[in-house]
C-alpha cells in the first residue's frame, strides 16, 4: 500500500504522520524551515508563495494555540485563511466528516489543516481526496487523537537541532503521559528517523502504552534514573481529565514522582535543554523555576513552530 501522504513520485503531498517518512524529507523540511525563520526577522514577514491559495483550518477539537500558529504561518505565506471551528457548526447538525470535506473542496480549498479528536481522521480525509483523484488539495495534520502531531514533532526536532546541532550523539527523554500523547508518538518517530541513538520514555505504567518499546524507546519508571545524562528533556502536558479515572491518584502525587523540578533536572547533562509543547501545567508536570529557567527553550519552540509550519505548508502545497 502506498503511503497516502506521498505522491507517486515519493514527494510529500500531505503531512499526516512522521512515521514512514524518510530522513531526507524530514531534513529538507527542517532546512526549509531554517530559511523561513529568517523571513520572520524581516521588515515584511511575508512571502508570496501561497498567494491566492485558500487554507482551511478545520478544527474539530479546540486548540487556539495550534490554530493560531498555523494561521500565522499561512498568512506569512500570503494564503487566505479560513478558520472553521466545526464543534460549533456542522458536526452538531449531523454532517459527516467527508461531507464537510466535499463541501469545502467545492469552495476551491487548496489546503486543509485538520485537528480532530479521533486518531486517523486526517488519513481518512487524505485517502478520500486521493480516491477522488483530487491532487491539488493538501492535508496537514494538526493533531489527531492520540496518534500524531507531526508539525509539533518537526518543530521539536528543529529546536533540538538549533541547540544541539547534531542528532547522532544525543539522549532524549520524553516524560509524562505517553499513552494519550500524539506529541510523544511524533517525537519518537522523528527522533529515531533522524538517528538519535537513545530515546527514553519516562512515566508510570498507567500512562505508557503496551508495546511502546517496539517503537524503539527505552522505558523508565523512575524519573531520576531516566533523566541521568540526557541532553534533551521533553515534558508532556498532563490533561486534568486523566485524574478522573483510575490512571493517577492526584496531580500532586504525579508532580512528586514525575514533575520536572530543578533537582531532578540536575540529573541531566549540565547543558540539557527543557522542552514542552504547551500549554504548561505549572506545578503538575513542570516546576516554574524550570519552566522559566535558563535551560527552558519553550518559547523559542513556539517561534520555530511558525517557520516549521510555513515549510510544511509550502512543501506540501508545491507537490
Amino acid at each position: 500500500m502506498r503511503n497516502p501522504q506521498l505522491n507517486k513520485n515519493g514527494e510529500l503531498t500531505h503531512l499526516l504522520s512522521i512515521e514512514g517518512l524518510p530522513k531526507g524529507i524530514l531534513e529538507s523540511i527542517l532546512n526549509t524551515a531554517d530559511s523561513f525563520a529568517s523571513v520572520g526577522e524581516r521588515e515584511v514577514k511575508k512571502v508570496p508563495l501561497l498567494r491566492g491559495k485558500s487554507v482551511f483550518n478545520l478544527f474539530f477539537e479546540n486548540s487556539t494555540r495550534t490554530r493560531t500558529t498555523f494561521e500565522i504561518a499561512a498568512k506569512r505565506l500570503s494564503a487566505d485563511v479560513i478558520n472553521l471551528n466545526i464543534n460549533a457548526s456542522s458536526a452538531s447538525k449531523g454532517e459527516s466528516l467527508l461531507d464537510t470535506i466535499d463541501n469545502l473542496s467545492a469552495m476551491q480549498a487548496d489546503m486543509f489543516v485538520v485537528r480532530h479528536a479521533q486518531s486517523g481522521a486526517p488519513y481518512l480525509i487524505a485517502q478520500h481526496l486521493n480516491n477522488l483523484g483530487v491532487e491539488h488539495i493538501h492535508v496537514v495534520n494538526a493533531g489527531d487523537g492520540r496518534h500524531a502531531h507531526p508539525t509539533q514533532g518537526l518543530l521539536d526536532m528543529y529546536t533540538i537541532r538549533h541547540y544541539k546541532k547534531d542528532f547522532s550523539n544525543l539522549t532524549v527523554a520524553i516524560v509524562g503521559d505517553i499513552l494519550h500523547s500524539r506529541v510523544a508518538r511524533s517525537d519518537i518517530h522523528a527522533l529515531t528517523t533522524l538517528g538519535v541513538p537513545e530515546v527514553r520514555v519516562i512515566g508510570p505504567r498507567t500512562l505508557l502504552p503496551a508495546h511502546i518499546e517496539q517503537m524503539g524507546v527505552r522505558v523508565f519508571h523512575d524519573m531520576a534514573e531516566g533523566l541521568k545524562g540526557v541532553d534533551v528533556v521533553i515534558m508532556l502536558r498532563l490533561q486534568s481529565e486523566r485524574m478522573k479515572g483510575a490512571l493517577l491518584p492526584s496531580a500532586q502525587e504525579f508532580y512528586k514522582s514525575y514533575g520536572l523540578t530543578p533537582d531532578k533536572l540536575a540529573r541531566a547533562k549540565g547543558d540539557a535543554i527543557v522542552m514542552h509543547p504547551g500549554p504548561m501545567n505549572r506545578g503538575v508536570e513542570i516546576d516554574s523555576t524550570v519552566a522559566d529557567g535558563g535551560q527552558a527553550v519553550i518559547l523559542p519552540q513556539v517561534t520555530f513552530g511558525i517557520a516549521v509550519r510555513m515549510a510544511v505548508m509550502s512543501i506540501t502545497a508545491g507537490n
Binding site: S35, S38, V39, R42, V47, L49, S314, I315, A317, G318
Partner: protein
C-alpha cells in the same frame, strides 16, 4: 559556439562597475551563481558595506507548477536597505523572472533608493521588461540550451553549456 570564459567576464564587470560604486552601494548576489560572482566582485572592488545574498525560491512565479526548491537557502541581507543603492548580481539574464522575484523580495526588506543589475551573460529571450545596466557579454542561445555557472574548489568560475532534451 564558443563558451564564454566566466573569469574574464567577471573582470570585465569589475571594470564597468568600479567607476560607479559609492560607499552607499550595497551588493547583493542571487543564489547560487550570482552569489559567487558577487563575492568575487565585492572583494575585488573593496566594498565596505556587507555583502547580501538572496535566494528567490519563495518568490518564484512557477511555484504552482514546480513546487518548492528543496535546496532553498536563507536569504541574508545584513544591512538595512531602506534608501540603499543596491547592485544586484546574477550570472545569466534570460526571461527576467528571476530578477522580478529578486526585486519583489528586496522590497519586503525595505524600500531601496535604487536597484542596478549586473550580469555575466545576457542570453536574450526576455519575457519581462528587464534590462541589466552592466553586462559581461551578450549572446543568443536556443531555448533548449542553458548556460550553467560552476565553481571549483579553488573558487574558479566557469560556464558549461547544457543541452536540455525534453523541456523548452
Amino acid at each position: 559556439m564558443l563558451i564564454p570564459d566566466a573569469e574574464v567576464l567577471c573582470e570585465s564587470l569589475r571594470r564597468q562597475i568600479a567607476p560607479v560604486v559609492s560607499p552607499a552601494t550595497v551588493m547583493i548576489g542571487v543564489h547560487t551563481g550570482g552569489a559567487w560572482i558577487a563575492a568575487k566582485l565585492h572583494r575585488a572592488l573593496g566594498l565596505t558595506t556587507p555583502l547580501g545574498l538572496l535566494d528567490i525560491s519563495f518568490y518564484r512565479d512557477d511555484f504552482a507548477r514546480v513546487g518548492l526548491n528543496p535546496q532553498v537557502k536563507k536569504s541574508a541581507i545584513p544591512i538595512d536597505i531602506e534608501n540603499a543603492e543596491i547592485l544586484l548580481i546574477d550570472d545569466v539574464l534570460y526571461t527576467g523572472r528571476t530578477v522580478r522575484a529578486a526585486m519583489n523580495e528586496l522590497f519586503d526588506y525595505g524600500r531601496p533608493k535604487k536597484i542596478d543589475l549586473a550580469v555575466l551573460v545576457d542570453r536574450g529571450g526576455r519575457e519581462l521588461p528587464v534590462a541589466a545596466r552592466f553586462t559581461g557579454e551578450t549572446l543568443i542561445l536556443e531555448a533548449h540550451q542553458s548556460l550553467n555557472l560552476a565553481q571549483d574548489a579553488s573558487g574558479q568560475l566557469s560556464f558549461q553549456l547544457v543541452e536540455k532534451k525534453d523541456r523548452t
